[in-house]
C-alpha cells in the first residue's frame, strides 16, 4: 500500500474531454486560479494534487459550474467540454451538471431515505420508465458505490443516519446514478477507512472504462494508484501536468518534487 512507485501503464492517446485554456478564477478581488491550461482526456483518471488552499477545489468546481452558486466568484478563460464552451451564454448549467457529476469533499446526503437519495437524480432526469427500472438503477448504483451490502436491508432508513464513510459512498453512488460522462470527486476518500478507500479506488478504476474521472486528493499514494494523469497545483497555478508515472518518478519542477517528497504542503 505504501509503495510510491506507480505501476507501468499503457499510454494510448485518447480524445480530449475537457480543454481548459487560460482559466482565471477570482473570488472578489483575490485571484484563486491563475492562467491554468490543461487538457483532460476521456476515459482517464486525472488526479489534482497540491497543498491545501492552492485552488484544487476551485478549479474542479469550474468544470461543472458549481462556482455559479458563489456570488463573488468570477471565471475567465475558455473551458471546452467536447469542444463546446461550458461558460457560453447558451449553456444551461443544469444540463451541464447532468453530464458532469460531482462528489463533494464533505459527505452531503439528502435528509431522505437511502433509496430516495439515489433515486432523486434519475427521477428528475427521467432515466427510469417505471418503478422496477428505478429499483434496478438504485441497486446498480449502490453496488458501484461499494455500499450495497451494507444498506440493502434498510433502503428506507435515512441516508443521514449512516456513518461518515458510508455517507460518502452513498454520495458517490448518487453521483453515478445519473450516468454522467465526467465525474468530479473532491477528496472522496478523506473520511473513509482503508477498506472503503480501496473499494472506492476500485470503483474509480472501473468508472474509467466509460467516464473520465477527475479526483482531488491529498494522498500521494492514492494519486499514484488510481490516476493516469496528475496535475500539481501550487498557489493557484498549474505547476506541472503529465503522466502520473512521470510526475512521481521524475518531476520536472522543483516545487513538485518537494511537494511529493513531503517538503511543502
Amino acid at each position: 500500500m505504501n509503495d510510491m512507485r506507480p505501476m507501468e501503464r499503457k499510454v494510448d492517446t485518447k480524445e480530449i474531454k475537457f480543454d481548459c485554456r487560460n482559466v482565471q478564477v477570482y473570488y472578489g478581488d483575490t485571484q484563486a486560479i491563475k492562467n491554468v491550461d490543461v487538457k483532460l482526456e476521456d476515459r482517464t483518471v486525472t488526479a489534482f494534487i497540491g497543498p491545501s488552499g492552492c485552488g484544487k477545489s476551485t478549479f474542479l468546481r469550474c468544470l461543472n459550474r458549481m462556482n455559479d452558486t458563489i456570488d463573488i466568484c468570477r471565471v475567465e478563460g475558455n473551458l471546452l467540454l467536447d469542444g463546446e464552451d461550458i461558460y457560453d451564454r447558451r449553456v444551461d448549467p443544469v444540463q451541464l451538471r447532468a453530464k458532469v457529476g460531482m462528489v463533494f469533499q464533505k459527505p452531503n446526503p439528502f435528509p431522505k431515505s437511502i433509496y430516495d437519495n439515489i433515486a432523486y437524480g434519475p427521477r428528475i432526469h427521467g432515466l427510469a420508465r417505471n418503478k422496477a427500472d428505478l429499483d434496478d438503477i438504485v441497486e446498480k448504483s449502490l453496488r458501484r458505490g461499494a455500499i450495497w451490502d451494507e444498506v440493502k436491508d434498510r433502503l428506507d432508513s435515512p441516508g443521514t443516519g449512516l456513518s461518515g464513510g458510508q455517507q460518502q459512498r452513498l454520495c458517490i453512488a448518487r453521483a453515478v446514478a445519473t450516468e454522467p460522462e465526467v465525474l468530479l470527486m473532491d477528496e472522496p476518500c478523506s473520511a473513509l477507512d482503508p477498506i472503503a478507500t480501496a473499494q472506492v479506488e476500485e470503483l474509480i478504476d472501473e468508472l474509467r472504462e466509460n467516464f473520465s474521472v477527475v479526483i482531488v486528493t491529498h494522498s500521494m499514494q492514492q494519486a499514484a494508484r488510481v490516476s493516469q494523469k496528475t496535475a500539481f497545483f501550487h498557489l493557484g497555478s498549474l505547476v506541472e501536468f503529465g503522466e502520473t508515472g512521470a510526475i512521481f518518478t521524475n518531476p520536472k519542477d522543483p516545487r513538485t518534487e518537494s511537494y511529493i517528497t513531503g517538503r511543502i504542503g
Binding site: 443544469v94 457529476g101 435528509p111 446514478a177
Partner: protein
C-alpha cells in the same frame, strides 16, 4: 500551560490535581455567580407569570358564571291574547311572571315578601324576555316551561362578590332590602348560578346590559380575519423570502429591500391601522368594520414577521444540501422545493403561527378601521358574509368592554382575555405539534 515557564515555578509534575488552584477557584466562582443570576432571572420571570395568571383567572372567572332566576311558568292562550291586547304589553307579562313566582314560593311553602318594583330591580324588565319567547315559540303556550332568566348585573355582582352589602348605597337600581330578597330566593333554590354559555356564544350587548354581553361574535370576527391573514401572508411571505434568499442577486437593491423589511417589522401597529383606513376604506372603498379589511391590515403587519422567520429558517439549511441537489443536476427551483423548503418547514410554520398569534392580539389598527367592540352585534349570515359584514375582534371587544363605565363589563373584559389566551395557547400548541411532525422527517 505557560505558567510554569513564565514564573519559573515548581515543575508541572509536582502540582496535584486534587488541590484547586486560585485561578480555577476564581473561574468556578464566576461560573457559579453566572448560574445564580440566570436562575434569579428565570425566577423573576416565573413570578410575574404566576402573578399574571392568578390575576387573570381570579378576575376573569366571574364572567363565566351567571346568576339566573329559575321559574316554572305556564302561559295559557287566553293570557297571551289578553296581554297582546293591552297597551303596555311587557308590563302584563311581568305581572304573569310575578304571580307565577309567588305561586311557586307558596308551593314550596316559603314565606317571602316581594313586590313588583323589587323584582324589577332584581331582574330588570322580565316581561320583554317572556314575550319574546312566546312570540317566537307559540307552541309553548298552555304548556309548562322553565325559564332561566338572568338577574341584573348588580345582583350578579352581589353573588360574585363584586357588589358588597356594606358599601351598597340605596339607589333606584338596588336597595339593601333587595339583597335580603335575593338571599332568600337563593336559599329557596330559585336563584342559582350556572355556566354562562351566552358569554361564550353571544354577541355584544348594549352599554346598559352587561349581563347579556358575549364574546362569540367577535371570536367569529377574529376567525375570519385570521383566515385572511393566513391566506395572504403565508404564500406572499414564503414566496418573497424564497426569492430573496435563494434567487435574488446580492446587490444594493436587495440590501435595501432587506433593510426595509426589517424596519417594517418595527413599525407600530397603529401606523398600519391608519394606512388601512386611508388605503382600503377611503381609497378602495372596502366596507368599514369588515374582517376582510382587518385581515388585510394585519397581513401587512404579519408579512415582515413571516418573511424574517422564513428567511432565517432558509438560511439555516446547510448549503451542502443545495450543492448536493445542484450536483446531481437539479435546477435551482428543484433544489429549493425538493430539499431546502422541506427542511425549512418547521421554522416557517413556527414563524407563521407566531405572526398569526401576534395578529390575533392586535387591537389598535382594528379600532382605526372601525372594528370596535359594539359593532359585534350578531353573527354573519353566511360564510362569505363573514368577511364583509361589520364585526369586531376579540381584543377590540375586550378593549371596548374595559372602557365602559359599568363595573360588570370589567369582569367581561377579564373573561374575554381568558378566551383570547386560550386561543393563543391553542395556536402555540399547534405550532409545537407541527414542528414536531415536520422535524421527524429529518
Amino acid at each position: 500551560m505557560t505558567d510554569a515557564s513564565l514564573h519559573g515555578a515548581a515543575p508541572r509534575k509536582g502540582r496535584s490535581i486534587h488541590q484547586i488552584d486560585a485561578r480555577t477557584r476564581r473561574r468556578n466562582a464566576t461560573e457559579a455567580r453566572f448560574k445564580a443570576c440566570g436562575i434569579a432571572a428565570i425566577a423573576i420571570g416565573l413570578f410575574f407569570l404566576v402573578v399574571l395568571a392568578v390575576a387573570i383567572i381570579r378576575n376573569g372567572t366571574p364572567a363565566f358564571t351567571r346568576t339566573v332566576v329559575e321559574v316554572n311558568f305556564t302561559l295559557t292562550q287566553a293570557q297571551f291574547d289578553e296581554a297582546e291586547s293591552q297597551l303596555f304589553k311587557t308590563k302584563a307579562y311581568s305581572g304573569f311572571f310575578n304571580s307565577a313566582l309567588a305561586d311557586q314560593l307558596t308551593q314550596q311553602g316559603i314565606e317571602v315578601a316581594f313586590d313588583e318594583a323589587s323584582i324589577e330591580r332584581l331582574m330588570g324588565k322580565v316581561g320583554n324576555a317572556i314575550r319574546e319567547h312566546y312570540t317566537a315559540h307559540p307552541g309553548d303556550l298552555d304548556a309548562p316551561v322553565t325559564f332561566n332568566l338572568p338577574t341584573s348585573s348588580r345582583v350578579d355582582g352581589y353573588f360574585n362578590g363584586r357588589v358588597k352589602r356594606e358599601t351598597l348605597q340605596d339607589s333606584r337600581f338596588l336597595e339593601a332590602t333587595d339583597l335580603d330578597l335575593a338571599d332568600q330566593l337563593k336559599a329557596a333554590g330559585i336563584i342559582k348560578s350556572e355556566f354562562n354559555w351566552p358569554f361564550i356564544t353571544g354577541a355584544d350587548s348594549g352599554v346598559d346590559n352587561p349581563g347579556g354581553a358575549g364574546i362569540g361574535a367577535s371570536v367569529v370576527g377574529s376567525f375570519f380575519m385570521m383566515l385572511v391573514v393566513l391566506g395572504l401572508s403565508l404564500p406572499i411571505g414564503v414566496a418573497a423570502s424564497i426569492y430573496l434568499e435563494e434567487f435574488a442577486p446580492q446587490n444594493w437593491i436587495t440590501d435595501l429591500i432587506e433593510v426595509n423589511i426589517s424596519n417594517l417589522a418595527a413599525v407600530p401597529s397603529i401606523v398600519f391601522g391608519i394606512l388601512g383606513l386611508a388605503v382600503f376604506i377611503q381609497f378602495m372603498h372596502l366596507p368599514q368594520s369588515a374582517p376582510l379589511v382587518g385581515g388585510l391590515v394585519l397581513t401587512l403587519m404579519t408579512l415582515p414577521t413571516i418573511i424574517i422567520s422564513t428567511r432565517a429558517s432558509l438560511k439555516s439549511v446547510p448549503p451542502s444540501i443545495r450543492d448536493a441537489a445542484l450536483g446531481v443536476g437539479a435546477s435551482k427551483m428543484q433544489a429549493v422545493f425538493h430539499h431546502v423548503l422541506p427542511l425549512a418547514m418547521p421554522g416557517i410554520l413556527t414563524g407563521t403561527i407566531i405572526g398569526l398569534a401576534q395578529a390575533l392580539g392586535e387591537t389598535a389598527p382594528l379600532l382605526l378601521i372601525g372594528m370596535v367592540g359594539f359593532v359585534a352585534r350578531g353573527y354573519p349570515d353566511g360564510f362569505l358574509d363573514g368577511f364583509v359584514e361589520p364585526n369586531s375582534a376579540m381584543p377590540a371587544q375586550i378593549y371596548t368592554w374595559a372602557a365602559r363605565a359599568d363595573q360588570a363589563f370589567y369582569d367581561k373584559a377579564w373573561g374575554g382575555i381568558i378566551i383570547l389566551l386560550i386561543f393563543l395557547l391553542t395556536m402555540n400548541i399547534i405550532a409545537i405539534i407541527l414542528r414536531r411532525r415536520f422535524e421527524r422527517r429529518w
